[in-house]
């Protein structure tokens, strides 16, 4: 039943460009898809390991900058040395974006998982701010507030078939959809594996997990690496689709958008970020014809409070309980509820 639902939804998304010709709506769907991938990656930390990482946009932004700079080329002076980098193909940019974001996830994970609770939250926010200020001030490399403009469009190189540049909206739509599906399957596999069960155990009761021999930091860092790498992939897609990025990509509000997507959809569920992403990605566009952007944000804020107060598990688990009450085996992730933190020193 659940699987059939997912397949019908995928078929709907696959055929969408055939009957939806409006370029603007396609544009919105593409950006929504990119942010949904980012939200899915955040869910891995926020939902499955229970770590409220509020610096997630840093990995998204790093992915975007790495990919853009790889494909645009740059030359910077560091002390007496000059580094010149000639433009590389977009595929190389994408791969580097994933790798370097993942590496940053490793470093930040190693450092910040030494602290928990409020400290962890503030370290992650601080990290994103430092990265923003570096992007703003290292003008030689990043162009700072002048923005990195004219970033090349995504180009797929298939051995034997040559290179195909994705100019139009439709190919970009399918590219984002493909990456999103790949990310979904990757997360699904991961969560279903031994590693995933260890992560969930951590969230449920960290001290118990430790006592049964789970290496907490190792699993958290692993989650951080995968999460950051996926966010970097989303950032790369974003850079080559909108073709311009500037340091404001690192603003806290973007992390908050991802958090709203995850929390509203249902943290710790596979479908949660997808549902949350689609709702909060497309809603502003529908609202914008009638209301100023301020109202849209006020609505976001109210919705966030509403979700926490009324539907703490999020939309997906709530709907699932209604639709499939007979599901024999409830997914382990749906067990998560709001309860007083045990690890937090009182």
């Amino acid at each position: 039943m659940r699987r059939a639902f997912a397949l019908v939804f995928l078929a709907f998304l696959l055929t969408l460009p055939l009957w939806l010709q409006d370029p603007y709506l396609l544009h919105i769907l593409i950006t929504t898809g990119i942010f949904t991938i980012a939200a899915m990656s955040l869910n891995l930390l926020l939902g499955y390991t229970g770590q409220l990482s509020l610096g997630h946009v840093a990995f998204f932004g790093i992915g975007a900058y790495v990919s853009a700079l790889t494909t645009l080329g740059f030359d910077v002076d560091i002390g007496p040395w000059t580094f010149v980098h000639e433009p590389w193909p977009v595929m190389a940019g994408f791969v580097l974006a994933v790798l370097i974001s993942g590496l940053c996830g490793y470093l930040i994970g190693k450092l910040s998982f030494r602290v928990r609770g409020a400290y962890f939250v503030i370290v992650t926010i601080s990290f994103a701010e430092v990265v923003r200020l570096v992007a703003l001030n290292w003008v030689d490399l990043t162009q700072g507030p002048l923005a990195l403009n004219n970033i090349p469009a995504f180009a797929l190189s298939v051995p034997g078939l040559g290179e195909h540049t994705l100019w139009g909206k439709v190919p970009n739509y399918y590219l984002v959809l493909a990456v999103a599906v790949a990310a979904y399957i990757l997360i699904k596999r991961l969560v279903g594996s031994r590693i995933g069960r260890a992560m969930v155990a951590l969230k449920e009761n960290e001290s118990l997990a430790v006592s049964v021999g789970i290496d907490v930091t190792r699993y958290l860092v692993l989650a951080a690496i995968i999460s950051a790498a996926l966010a970097g992939a989303a950032g790369s897609l974003y850079a080559h689709y909108v073709k311009i990025i500037d340091p404001e990509i690192f603003l806290f509000i973007y992390t908050v958008t991802m958090v709203i997507m995850v929390v509203a959809g249902g943290k710790g569920t596979l479908a949660g970020p997808v549902v949350g992403g689609l709702i909060f990605g497309t809603l502003p566009v529908l609202l914008r014809s009638y209301l100023g952007p301020e109202f849209q944000w006020i609505f976001y804020g109210l919705f966030m409070i509403f979700i926490v107060f009324v539907l703490p598990q999020g939309i997906v688990p709530a709907v699932e309980q209604r639709l499939f009450p007979s599901t024999r085996e409830p997914p382990p992730e749906a067990l998560a509820t709001v309860e007083p933190a045990k690890g937090e020193p009182q």
Partner: protein, 386 residues
């Protein structure tokens, strides 16, 4: 003061609603506007948008263009380049505007430019001054504001008269500020004048005392500042607080001198400003009658007088675009682009007529307006005779 701020706020609120509702209407000639309505350049962007609205109402009162009413679709670029590109995409693909005006800051305009190439839609640039805009080979760009090189040339004759020997720069860290520092340095060096420090500040920076402190310890006699009115006010106040005594000249035409007098008080005294419109002496304008009428209308709406040095660009920009639509005979991008080359108009600061600029075969249009150097003395604005 009381009136000005209240009305300003209300106008913005009204603008927000107007933008929202306007998108739903149809069967009118649409013009897309991209301005910084929020963020560090918000004061200037709102003035330009309000100037544009006056032009549209005036045009619609006379029957519109090609028998249709003109409708503005105004979008906020939030003083950010990526946002500028995003709203350009929205205006072109969703609202299907055949022509744009914007995007105030050079970095915002440069961000929009690839979209113009992609969708083949022309844009009238009303404020941006970076040289790059008209030299990069974008045939959809038509600019009525002076590039900073032109501004520097206009200032060149005054350099000797003022007895300038060495100049420091304090500029906003974007294409506008950096472009102005480059072009003015070039002009000054060609006259044998020394150029000292070039300090930059982020457009959102509020505390500029570190840069000013450095400048205080230099031996230059003149400081050229390029940024928008909000940051200028802070820079003047902080320079005064540090006891920085130096000739200060500002460039870029976004100073709103009356606002500087009001907010910076004595700190604004003896400063000089390169502006592109003289609302204090409308008879000096390239089109005195229109200027007087515009100033009257502006005051009647309760907008602050200070905004006039900015808002006239919006007014002139829209009149230029509508003249092009009239000439084109249809509100279609390619026809408007072609017609813009043939527009001749008496603008507020001189005739508007586009000349070719940039690489051959894909030239941008550039009009060359007047530049004036005004001085603030004892809280009064002194306008030169010529």
């Amino acid at each position: 003061m009381l009136n000005m701020t209240k009305l300003g706020g209300r106008a913005l609120l009204a603008a927000t609603f107007a933008v929202g509702f306007a998108a739903a209407a149809t069967a009118q000639t649409k013009i897309g506007i991209i301005q910084p309505l929020t963020g560090p350049a918000a004061a200037s962007g709102n003035y330009v948008a309000n100037g544009a609205k006056i032009a549209v109402e005036e045009i619609n009162a006379k029957g519109g263009v090609l028998g249709q009413k003109v409708e503005l679709v105004i979008e906020d670029n939030k003083s950010n380049p990526t946002e500028a590109a995003a709203v350009a995409e929205k205006l072109i693909t969703r609202d299907k505007v055949p022509v744009l005006m914007g995007a105030w800051g050079s970095s915002f305009t440069l961000a929009v430019m690839p979209k113009l190439m992609e969708y083949k839609v022309p844009m009238l640039v009303e404020t941006s001054s970076s040289g790059k805009i008209t030299t990069s080979g974008n045939p959809y760009i038509f600019r009525i504001s002076p590039p900073s090189a032109v501004e520097a040339e206009a200032f060149a004759p005054k350099v000797q008269a003022l007895g300038i020997k060495k100049v420091d720069f304090l500029v906003v860290n974007n294409d506008w500020g950096r472009g102005a520092a480059d072009d003015f340095s070039k002009m000054l060096k060609s006259k044998g004048i020394q150029v000292g420090l070039v300090e930059t500040m982020d457009q959102a920076a509020q505390d500029i005392s570190a840069q000013l402190n450095k400048i205080k310890n230099s031996d230059a006699d003149t400081l050229i500042i390029t940024t928008a009115v909000e940051q200028l006010t802070l820079a003047f106040k902080q320079a005064a607080a540090l006891g920085l005594k130096r000739r200060i000249i500002t460039t870029g035409g976004s100073q709103n001198p009356d606002q500087l007098v009001e907010h910076a008080g004595a700190a604004a005294n003896s400063t000089m400003h390169l502006t592109f419109f003289t609302p204090w002496k409308p008879e000096m304008s390239g089109n005195p009658e229109a200027a007087k009428a515009f100033i009257e209308e502006w005051k009647k709406r309760g907008y602050p007088f200070a905004g006039l040095t900015e808002s006239f660009r919006g007014y002139d920009g829209i009149r230029t675009i509508v003249a092009a639509i009239e000439k084109a005979g249809k509100a279609e991008p390619e026809a408007i682009r072609a017609a813009l080359w043939n527009v001749e108009l008496k603008g507020m600061n001189g005739p508007i007529k586009f000349q070719k600029a940039g690489p051959a075969g894909k030239e941008s249009g550039q009009s060359y307006p007047g530049v004036y150097l005004i001085t603030i003395e004892d809280g009064k604005i002194i306008v030169p005779q010529s």
